[in-house]
Amino acid sequence: MSFKVTRRKFLQTASIAAATLPLAKVVSAETGFVRDPFTPPGSFEGTQTVTGGVCEMCFWRCQLVGKVRDKKLVKLEGNPKSIDNGKSICARGNAGIKLLYDPDRLKFPLKNVGERGKPVWKQISWQEALDECGSKLKAVQEKYGSQGIAMFPHGASAKYPMDFFEKVVGTHNVSEASFFQCRGIRDSAYMSTFGVAPGESVDMPNAKAILLIGCHFGENVHVSHVKAYLKGLENGAKLIVVDPRYSASAAKSDIWVQIKPGTDTAFLLAIMNYLVQKDKYDKEFVEAHCVGFEEFKKGISHASLDWAAKICDVPAKQIQEVAELLAANAPNVSIHPGRHVSWHGNDFQRIRAHACLTALLGAIGVKGGFVKAKGVKVKGISWPKVAEGGEEHNLKLMADKYHFAPPGTPTELIRDACITGKPYPIKGCVVWGQNPMQTIPNQQRMVDSLKQMDFVMCVDVMPTDITMYADILLPEACYLERYDYIKTGTQWNFADKHQQYIAPRMPLVDAMFERKDEVFITNEIAKRMGYGDKIPVNTLEEKINKELAGVNLSIAQLKKEDGIHIQDGKDPYGVSEDFEVQLYNEDLEDNDYPAVPTYIPVEEVPKGFTRLVYGRSPVHTFNRSQNNVWLHNAMPVNPVWLNDEIAKKMGLQEGDEVSLVNSEGVKSSSKTVVKVTPGIRKDTVYMAHGYGSRNPMLTVGVNAGVDDQELITKMTIDPETGCNGMRNNFVKLVKDGKTLDIPA
């Protein structure tokens, strides 16, 4: 460009007169400024402490305070009033600020004027976005029925819209895949054994022994839970860790059982059989509370120590040692129920074994055992159930399988219907805070499901892999910018004074850009779908206030109380007379599932391959935090753990760059580095989950490390629950373009 005129000359020319260039006429009347008499520094430069934050960098929901300087959130800390996490928060909790101010976050409603998967985005108004969502969803409903709409929700903000689609619109096709694939099996298995979902309710601070099957605390960090675990160790609890890998927990263990992946049920059966055979179980408890002991005893009688030793590839003596240690410390033992438990497609049975072992040891309602906290209940306010149609289009019932599935419809059944159109078409999709591209195995099936839809909308805080498939993408206020979930609970250590707390999430700063909350978005869509008269509350704030009113509190009161209301609690110990443990479960029998915990073998590792297992990184909450600058810098890639002897045979060294390919020929899109260690079995490799996003909108997280999920293409489905086992994929490593066999 050649500048013909200088600025000075330009400004001095006569033709700048308003007639030629009516600049002022084509600009908006208002600017973004108001006059604000200057107040000297000091009065506005001080840092304020704002209370009422509830963290959601993971779902433990620690209570926070925000340090706010001149409307900017500069630091997050634990709320000193908290009797849960206290002043502590973890690395992810701290890094919430970087999520808040992440420039890649969604800011305005976007419309995809390109293709699904290859989007071309255009900012549109909320009015236009909501009109489009409302009319397109209504059109799907009119043409295909309510069942033609599927929803994938996740997180606290997704509950209100989920209730709308289930109870008012009337679709069963709601799959909270991340719950489903995470804790769902655990909850169903405990329901079928104890009649209650277990949470993580083990009294670790007061235990004499703690058994962790696969739990890797220290890498898996939930603040008050880790405090409880560490308190237990500090108080002298013996720790048994069952894990193919020398995890952070294994490093603190008294006994590390380096088990062959997939065989944990055999291990547990052998322990239970040993306790029964040797009369080392709690007879009194079993007599008083357990159903079907004789059937159970018979059902596990084959599980000798040698039988399990062979299957699990661990010494029989070590299994015996574990059984003895548990028996010696019973009933004050914490058999941890686990958290993310969908591993091998035989998981319901394994988790039933956790519960049955707990009962055999009489470790229920006693110090150190399985103890449910006595918290306070705050009743939620949501949509009324008005949809008719009953169970007519319930895919789970139609398929007559997965009779013990967690609530909602198994993702696989929804995807089957999407892809085949049978038993009916599903043509509208609402994704709310979930990234089913990474939470459910076999991404191609997800892509195929989405591509055939008439309409796809996503609501999220950040762009994720799934949002690339949205027609309309709506920006949601994040947990630091909105009212929301009311967190309740008790003091973390039952040895301390019994107290209860109520802590609603309150915004620490105002929502920036045009981000909105779930009540606004859902209500506006509801109005446009003809359900305006069913709206239960007009704002999120009203919802929280109404819910709090049920326990004689209000937002105003909570503000006065620094964000947390604390009241006297109740002693959680003891077990009610009618508490029943189904060692043998008739309902399971009636539906042709094993009624007594049973080991179902998993596929062996094929020659030349190794099994891929995954877990948590302490600084990430899976893909939710991939794009966080601080967290990314703390652990930028997820090294693949490889046994040192195997590495030597393969000529691989610490730090070598590799990609992975699975037994079905699927290659990882990105690379990671090798971590050479004796701390992993020879038949297994491990990596942290939640890396290697392929979404280029995540400027920090894109292609950083390897996405293990991409390699999980082989499906094993847990027969009782329909959840996907995700540790049955086998891989080889690829270095410099050469695929390397894994030696035996």
């Binding site: 500048f3 700048i16 084509v26 600009v27 400024f33 894109v702």
Partner: protein, 188 residues
């Protein structure tokens, strides 16, 4: 003939430039705006830019939508990634996130001059606000304007501008970048 002082004209120019960086919608991104832009280029004798813009507009089925898509891609969210978020702190003196140190310094500067953002939760270092503020200063405080340009605007704008010039698919934002550069550079 010129009845306005250069400062007043600069105020209008900054307002115009600020407007041109807002999200384009039919309300303002209309024929009136367009003719002012074209006339401005004419006055500046930027004939090539004028010709290119005119040609691209004539050849487009939906010119407004083209510019909207480009605005979204460059400044909001996009594939492969947002090219140049229009906030100082993403580009300068920080770790690439919003509301970094320069944003706080900018807000402080507004305050010291007796102004605040009407919507307090807005980010102070958005290019539209900075240009609007330059318009205010052009009227009231030429020395302040110089200082603002030197210490707060130009350092990040340089980086921002090169990103946009390098990645822009549409001539509109290239022209706007050059206009802002032209009117905010040190004396020529």
């Amino acid at each position: 003939m010129n009845t306005t002082s250069p400062q007043i004209s600069m105020a209008n120019i900054f307002r115009f430039l600020a407007q041109s960086m807002r999200y384009p919608d039919a309300e303002w991104f209309n024929e009136d705006f367009w003719s002012v832009l074209i006339n401005l280029l004419e006055e500046l004798q930027w004939q090539e830019d004028k010709a290119e813009l005119t040609r691209v507009k004539a050849g487009s089925k939906d010119f407004l939508e083209d510019v909207q898509i480009e605005h979204t891609r460059l400044f909001i969210n996009a594939i492969p990634h947002v090219v140049a978020a229009p906030y100082a702190s993403v580009h300068y003196k920080g770790d690439g996130t919003l509301y970094g140190i320069i944003a706080e310094q900018t807000k402080k500067f507004y305050r010291e001059k007796g102004f605040a953002l009407a919507k307090e939760s807005d980010l102070p270092d958005h290019i539209v606000y900075e240009l609007e503020f330059l318009a205010i200063l052009a009227n009231e405080d030429p020395e302040g304007q110089k200082k603002f340009l030197k210490s707060l605007f130009t350092p990040w704008f340089e980086i921002f501008k090169s990103k946009v010039l390098e990645e822009a698919h549409h001539p509109y934002y290239r022209v706007v970048m050059n206009l802002i550069d032209f009117f905010t550079r040190e004396e020529l």
